[in-house]
């Protein structure tokens, strides 16, 4: 059964995009394949690993648990929208300086989770940071340097 295509207009990283998509196209796949924004990663496709996390109207959500058609009229920020190579977001700088990434697979999902977190919690404790990242799985780092990076970023941003 072929489904009709739906027209969707969505703002991603400040840019407006319009595409015709199948309703079943996941937002994660839309960002990657329709828009070529490969920074958002696909891990488990059932909401537990956090690799697909993006900011949706400013809040972190699982892009693997939304259909692209549901983003109609909304604003999305992916890792590509947080900073540029010339001007990294302070959190990205802190991740770099504190060695908070190795393979980098989990990193975009962590960044899109932590940017809103730091906006609401500019001076977080270690416990608060660990709770904030508890929805993102990392197989490489053991999380300690990620916690260090968030503390460093909080300092940079204060």
């Amino acid at each position: 059964m072929m489904s009709d295509l739906h027209n969707v207009t969505v703002t991603v990283n400040g840019n407006k995009y319009e595409r015709d998509v199948e309703p079943r196209l996941l937002l994660s796949d839309f960002l990657r394949h329709e828009l070529g924004l490969l920074g958002t990663h696909v891990g488990c496709e059932h909401g537990v690993c956090g690799a697909c996390t993006v900011m949706f109207d400013g809040q972190p959500v699982r892009s693997c648990l939304m259909f692209a058609v549901q983003a109609q009229g909304h604003e999305i920020t992916t890792v590509e929208g947080l900073g540029t190579m010339e001007a990294l977001h302070p959190l990205q700088e802190a991740f770099w300086e504190a060695h908070a990434l190795q393979c980098g697979f989990c990193t975009p999902g962590l960044l899109t989770t932590l940017v809103p977190f730091l906006e609401e919690n500019p001076d977080p404790s270690e416990e608060e940071i660990r709770e904030a990242i508890s929805g993102n799985l990392c197989r490489c780092t053991g999380y300690q340097h990620i916690v260090d990076a968030v503390k460093l970023a909080a300092e940079k941003m204060s």
Binding site: P23, R24, E45, T53, P60, V61, L65, G135
Partner: protein
């Protein structure tokens, strides 16, 4: 994996949504937050031919005080909103304490209060909480409206009393009775995993601080929300001592629940957990009931 093709509608009003549900009946599934339905669709465990997306119906998202001192929660209210609501903290402290236990923050930003309940996973905290608090569900169809108690609403795993053309629109919680205490205890191996098992306790004391009324409801301990009826019977009219609580916990774990074996835990371990958590929950509920005087 990816979902198979489906037809998609995104109505802007409840009336439009109900008309779609009436027209498409068995072939249609309502899409709320999608945090439970979409994983199932991604694995092709659920393959609805038609999705009716409720996320544009803003009239279904609200938290209001009700005249009897309780609260009314619109079905499409995001968990995030309930989690941060001062009204919920004041009038439904058990719900307030439960919200941060639901999945992760990212899931709570999209997931909805009514969606979790309508999905009726026996491992959902809100399912057990709604039974423990004697919630009532307002159900709409094109034909009209009906109210159903939480107990009647849940039939078995992923199965509710909803007819194909019906939608839950609101959940009503009565006020907390005087001299009441509450608790929710659950255990998982990793933070935010589905609980291996869990218990919700609601306790009301009489004038002598004996148990007037207690409700124990278990999650991930059977086919749906499991009530600790036999355990509750033993406590009626009794003082809540370490001994009486322990005895109740043992009865609940051995006789009231029907947990399963799976890769995460054996039924035997779940029973053991239920016993330990029941003790902790009753103790905490009692302490809260005392201090709420």
């Amino acid at each position: 994996m990816k979902p198979p093709p489906f037809e998609y509608f995104a109505p802007a009003t409840l009336d439009e949504a109900l008309a779609l549900m009436a027209e498409h009946g068995y072939d249609a599934k309502a899409l709320a937050g999608g945090q439970s339905l979409i994983p199932m669709m991604n694995f092709r465990l659920a393959q609805p031919e038609i999705l009716v997306d409720l996320n544009n119906i803003s009239e279904l998202a609200y938290i209001r005080p009700s005249d009897d001192g309780g609260v009314l929660i619109g079905a499409m209210t995001r968990h995030r909103m309930v989690e941060r609501s001062p009204l919920i903290a004041e009038r439904a402290p058990l719900i307030y304490e439960t919200m941060p236990k639901i999945a992760t923050e990212q899931v709570r930003n999209r997931g909805t209060f009514g969606g979790s309940l309508a999905h009726a996973d026996s491992s959902a905290e809100l399912v057990a909480v709604s039974v423990a608090l004697n919630a009532r569900f307002r159900i709409r169809s094109q034909e009209g409206e009906r109210w159903v108690s939480a107990k009647e609403f849940f039939i078995s795993l992923f199965t509710t009393i909803l007819e194909p053309e019906e939608l839950v629109v609101e959940i009503a919680f009565p006020p907390m009775p005087e001299r009441s205490g509450w608790s929710i205890k659950e255990t998982a191996r990793r933070p935010h995993d589905f609980a291996l098992t869990g218990v919700v306790a609601m306790l009301t004391l009489d004038n002598e601080n004996h148990c007037q009324q207690v409700k124990l409801v278990y999650l991930s301990a059977g086919d749906g929300p499991m009530e600790g009826c036999q355990a509750a019977e033993t406590l009626k009219g009794q003082p809540l001592t370490a001994e009486t609580i322990q005895a109740a916990a043992e009865i609940a774990a051995s006789a009231d629940i029907d947990p399963s074996n799976d890769v995460h835990a054996t039924a035997e371990y779940r029973r053991h957990l239920a016993k330990v958590l029941t003790y902790q929950a009753l103790k905490e509920a009692f302490e809260r009931a005392i201090s709420n005087n």
